[in-house]
Every structure is written in structure tokens, then in C-alpha cells.
């Protein structure tokens, strides 16, 4: 738990590093795009300016247009909504599912633990991308299916992290004190253990936004993620990949948007870890 007197110190340590601040800035910029997409976009992202197909960056179209003459900047701004909400949903799913399993495994230990850990081993036996693709191919395109696929493949990270931490906490005195007072198990898990695991969980949740965003982009790029009619970064790359020598902007900028967003979460998560856990600091 982050005690309040520590909070100031943690914040100071967090913002001391310029890279962390850049990360936060990238995340905030992303959130602004998500919230105010219609206001910020110069054009309707669906509108096809057929006379201006593959028009290079100019004052009229800041980042140029795509094959159908749609404004790339507007599509990037709207595409942020897919990436961000998808990342959030997958992280939330992973948190819910993974954290609970991890807590139970770590707290009870023994047979329960080894059983649950074997289950995570099974899920880890596939490359995440391949597993997600398989799920998408049987379920079909769609936001909900992408969330399902990425949650099914992503929860193990939370489970393993929380389990390891809970395992090290369960023999501590305060847990035994609560046990001896006769607290019920769910109460011990969620009221006493969980708050002490917040620091690593927050870090994992921040860094955990990166993988779903990248995987979704790849799935959509391959045509088995988000349907093509919805503006998404992966979809934009998919549409214009065959025209990259004539319209470099149409593959450069959407990819840059993905990279910047993911970089933001990675930078900020990295800084968070350093600030919350000085042990890990170099």
C-alpha cells in the first residue's frame, strides 16, 4: 500500500526523470484524442475525397490521404479510440481474472497453487499471437472477439505476478494476525493482501496496455481483428500496404501513432516501477 506520507516522495521520484514525463505526456495526448476525437478531427474519418486520393501531406490534409481519399489525421485520431478502449478492456479482464487466480494460488500455495500454475503453463504453451489468431479465426472479426482473444491470452501475466507476490506476503505477520482474528478468506485476500500488491499491479497494468494494442494492430492488419469499416490503426496499415512506394505517408503515420502510444505506456510504466520499487532501481 502506498502510505500517504510516501506518496509525495513517490511522485517526486516519478517526475524527476524526463523520460517518464514524456511517457505521461504521450498517454495524456492519447486520452485527449480518445475523448475529443470528433472535435479534434479536421474531417469526417469516413468521408472519401475521391479527387484527393493518396494526396501527400499538405496544409489541406496535414498527414495526407489514403487510397480512398480519407484524411489520415482524422482516421488516426478516431483510431485511438479502438486502441485505447481495447487496451483498457483487456487489462481490466486480465486484472479481474489473473489477479483473482494469482491471489488464490499464492495465498493457498501447495496443491491449489501447483494446479493453477499448471493451467497458466498450458495457456503459455502457445505463442500469444498464434493463440489469439486461432480464436479470432473461429470467432470472426469484431471488437468483442478481439477483447476475448487477448484477455484469454493475456491474463497469465497478471496471474503469475500476483501469485509470486502473494506467496511472499502470506507468511508475514500481519496476514497471520488477520487469520488468527478469524477473518474469512475472501476478506483476507481482497482487503488485506491485495492492497499490499497494488504497486506491482499498477506497474503491470500500465505496461500491460502495450501488448494488446500491438497485438490488436497486427490482428487487424491481417484482416482478422477489427472490421475494416471501423477506423483503426492496424486497419489503416492494411489498406495502404500495397501503395507504400507511392504514398509513404499512408503507412508511416498510422504506425507512428501505434509506436508513440505504446512507447508512452512503456516509458510511464518503467518510470512507475522505478518510483514505486526503489529496490529495482539501478
Amino acid at each position: 500500500m502506498i502510505a500517504s506520507e510516501n506518496r509525495g516522495r513517490v511522485l517526486r521520484r516519478l517526475f524527476r526523470r524526463p523520460l517518464t514525463v514524456i511517457g505521461l505526456f504521450l498517454i495524456l495526448a492519447n486520452i485527449v484524442m480518445v475523448l475529443f476525437a470528433p472535435v479534434l478531427s479536421p474531417y469526417n474519418p469516413e468521408e472519401m475525397h475521391l479527387k484527393d486520393r493518396h494526396s501527400p501531406p499538405s496544409m489541406k490534409y496535414l498527414l495526407g490521404t489514403d487510397f480512398y481519399g480519407r484524411d489520415i489525421l482524422s482516421r488516426i485520431i478516431h483510431g485511438s479510440r479502438i486502441s485505447f478502449t481495447l487496451g483498457l478492456s483487456v487489462v481490466a479482464g486480465g486484472l479481474l481474472f489473473g489477479t483473482t487466480l494469482g491471489l488464490v494460488a499464492g495465498y493457498f500455495g501447495g496443491r491449489v497453487d501447483s494446479l493453477l500454475m499448471r493451467v497458466t503453463d498450458i495457456f503459455l504453451a502457445f505463442p500469444q499471437m498464434v493463440f489469439a489468431m486461432a480464436i479470432m479465426s473461429v470467432r470472426g472479426q469484431g471488437f468483442g472477439n478481439v477483447v476475448l482473444a487477448l484477455t484469454l491470452t493475456g491474463w497469465t501475466a497478471f496471474a503469475r505476478l500476483v501469485r509470486a507476490e502473494a506467496l511472499s506476503l502470506r507468511d508475514l505477520e500481519f496476514v497471520q494476525a488477520v487469520q488468527s482474528l478469524g477473518a474469512r478468506t475472501p476478506r483476507i485476500l481482497f482487503r488485506h493482501l491485495l492492497p499490499n500488491l497494488m504497486a506491482p499491479i499498477i506497474v503491470q497494468a500500465t505496461m500491460g496496455m502495450a501488448t494488446p494494442i500491438l497485438t490488436e494492430a497486427a490482428l487487424t492488419f491481417l484482416g482478422i481483428g477489427i472490421p475494416p469499416n471501423v477506423p483503426s490503426w492496424g486497419g489503416m496499415l492494411s489498406v495502404d500496404r500495397d501503395f507504400m512506394e507511392t504514398a509513404w505517408w499512408s503507412v508511416t503515420f498510422p504506425g507512428l501513432a501505434i509506436a508513440c502510444t505504446v512507447l508512452g505506456f512503456n516509458l510511464f510504466g518503467d518510470g512507475l516501477r522505478d518510483a514505486l520499487d526503489p529496490k529495482l532501481r539501478a
Binding site: 523520460l19 499448471r118 493451467v119 503453463d121 498450458i122 495457456f123 503459455l124 504453451a125 502457445f126 505463442p127 500469444q128 499471437m129 498464434v130 493463440f131 489468431m133 486461432a134 480464436i135 479470432m136 479465426s137 473461429v138 470467432r139 470472426g140 502495450a210 500491438l214 494492430a217 497486427a218 492488419f221 491481417l222 484482416g223 482478422i224 492496424g234 496499415l237 500496404r241 507504400m244 512506394e245 509513404w248 503507412v251 508511416t252 504506425g255 501505434i258 509506436a259 508513440c260 505504446v262 512507447l263 512503456n266 516509458l267 518503467d270 529495482l280 539501478a282
Partner: protein
């Protein structure tokens, strides 16, 4: 040591049994069932019953599972919906291309990550360290397929240095392997840095220096032999990720490997091929894990000479 290997093998068998359950369960995720998927939305009830009968899908689930499991254990992955050819030979034929891609990608990521990671750890917080850390994070933040697209755009289309697609000449592998290896390089760089930083504080390095060894020997021999241990585990995990990434990269570069084949069959919803491919990937990852454990034991005498 032998006991340790046996135990790991035993564990892997259980994991693989679990994998078969999961792969089998995947088919149950199909909305409306495989028959509807094969026949299309406007299939009649009779047609569906007929297909179900022919594929044995009308039997109880556990019978279907055990039947399938029995075949898989014997190496019979069934035949494709698509072209009715046996699946396993088609997959195995494409394995060498994928392995080539993985090995070269790993090679690239190691030759990028090792020097930068080591320099970062030896001179922490120096300019080079900071640049290296930003590069590492950038590496893990860029989608590999996008890197691939940019490489094709610049080095194949504009400069014409490398072929854009296919596997005709020996230079073909360079771009896809690089695109695939970038994120692993980023991860390894960070791992090598933090692992080496920790080892550099160890007492035995003081001993090594007190012997009069040069700084090069101290870092590259005494420190790195220890720092590499956690890196081995990371490499193994990353090879699993490379395998996943190879599916996308093979598609971008039209690389005739397992991943591209798998992707095309997925587009066609060729369920038996997808299941067979998943099994093969899982076996690959399990073997990888065992090899990692052996490597770890080889590099760490404390494990080699116990239990």
C-alpha cells in the same frame, strides 16, 4: 540432474495434455458449430446433421475428444478441410523456413542487444546508457509488421538492396529477420543491462579484480557468465514470442514458412489445420522450455550438481 530432467519431461507431458483440451475447446467456440461454418449461414437442418454425422460431431464431446487425442498422439493430425491432404507433412515441410527466420532473428537481436546492454550496465546513467535504454523501449514499442513495411518501402522498393518478398536468395531472410528481431533486441537489452548491473555488485568481482584481471576479463568472463543466467530464461520466453511474431512477418514478406501457411488456413477457417498447427506450436514451445532448463543447468553448476 537426471531426476530433474525427468521431472521436467513429466511436467511437459501434462502441459501438453492440457494443451489438447484447450485446442479441442477452441472448436467449441465456433458460433453455431463447425458444420454451420463449413456450409454457410443458409444451410438447412438436414445438411447440418449430415455434415455432423460425417465428421463425427454428433457423438458426445468426450468421445470426440478422446478419438482426436488418440490420433494426435499417434501423429495423425487428420486431413485439411481445404484440400483433403494430411496436415502434418504440409506443416513440417514449412518448418525449415520458419526456423531459418527465427535463428537469424535471434542472431540479429543478440548482436544488437549484447554490446549495448553490456555498455549500459558498465556505465550506468551515462549518455550511451540513456540512449540505449530509449532505443530498447522504442524497439519493443514498434509493431514488427510496421517495421517490416518500412524496411520494404526503403530498402526494397526505393533502394533495391534486398528482395521485398519470398525466399529466393540468401539476402531474402535479412529484412524479415531484422523486423522480427527488433523487439526481442529491446527486451534482451534491458534484461542484460539489469542482470549485469546486479552481478557487477557481487563480491566475487572484487576478488577477480584483486587478482589483477583486466576489466575486460572481469566484465566479459566473470560477470557475464553469471549475468547470462536470467537472460537465458528471457531468451526462451522471447523465442515463443518470435514464433508468434513470425506469423505476421511471414505474411508481410510472403515468407514460405509455417506461420504464413497457418495464417492462410485460418482465413479459410480450416479447423483441422488450425488445431494441428496449434499443437505443433505447443510442442515446439515445450521442447524449447526443456532445452532452456538444460541450458540453464549447463551454465549454472549450482543446479547441475543438485537434485
Amino acid at each position: 540432474m537426471v531426476l530433474y530432467i525427468l521431472r521436467r519431461l513429466f511436467q511437459s507431458v501434462w502441459v501438453l495434455v492440457g494443451v489438447t483440451v484447450l485446442v479441442f475447446a477452441l472448436v467449441q467456440l465456433i458460433p453455431g458449430g463447425p458444420a454451420l461454418m463449413i456450409l454457410g449461414e443458409d444451410a438447412t437442418a438436414e445438411q447440418i446433421t449430415l455434415v455432423n454425422q460425417r465428421l463425427g460431431l454428433d457423438r458426445p464431446l468426450h468421445v470426440q475428444y478422446l478419438d482426436w487425442l488418440g490420433k494426435v498422439v499417434r501423429g495423425d493430425f487428420g486431413v485439411s478441410f481445404q484440400d483433403s491432404r494430411p496436415i502434418l507433412p504440409d506443416l513440417l515441410n514449412r518448418m525449415p523456413a520458419t526456423l531459418e527466420l527465427l535463428v537469424v532473428a535471434m542472431f540479429f537481436s543478440l548482436i544488437i542487444a549484447l554490446p549495448i546492454g553490456i555498455i549500459s550496465a558498465v556505465k550506468p546513467n551515462s549518455l550511451l546508457d540513456n540512449v540505449g535504454r530509449v532505443l530498447a523501449l522504442l524497439g519493443v514499442s514498434m509493431p514488427s509488421f510496421w517495421i517490416g513495411l518500412l524496411l520494404i518501402m526503403v530498402f526494397a522498393r526505393n533502394l533495391g538492396w534486398f528482395p521485398a518478398v519470398g525466399r529466393e536468395s540468401w539476402t531474402s531472410v535479412i529484412m524479415p529477420a531484422f523486423a522480427l528481431g527488433v523487439s526481442m533486441a529491446g527486451i534482451l537489452m534491458r534484461m542484460i543491462r539489469s542482470s549485469l548491473l546486479e552481478v557487477l555488485r557481487e563480491d566475487y568481482l572484487k576478488t577477480a579484480r584483486a587478482k589483477g584481471l583486466t576489466e575486460k576479463v572481469v566484465v566479459l568472463k566473470h560477470a557475464m557468465r553469471n549475468a547470462i543466467l536470467p537472460v537465458i530464461t528471457t531468451i526462451a520466453l522471447q523465442v515463443g514470442n518470435l514464433l508468434g511474431g513470425s506469423v505476421v512477418i511471414e505474411t508481410v514478406f510472403a515468407w514460405p514458412g509455417m506461420g504464413r501457411f497457418c495464417y492462410m488456413r485460418m482465413l479459410q477457417r480450416d479447423i483441422p489445420t488450425i488445431m494441428g498447427n496449434l499443437m505443433l506450436y505447443a510442442v515446439f514451445v515445450c521442447i524449447l522450455n526443456i532445452v532452456t532448463d538444460l541450458l540453464y543447468a549447463y551454465f549454472d553448476p549450482r543446479i547441475r550438481y543438485s537434485g
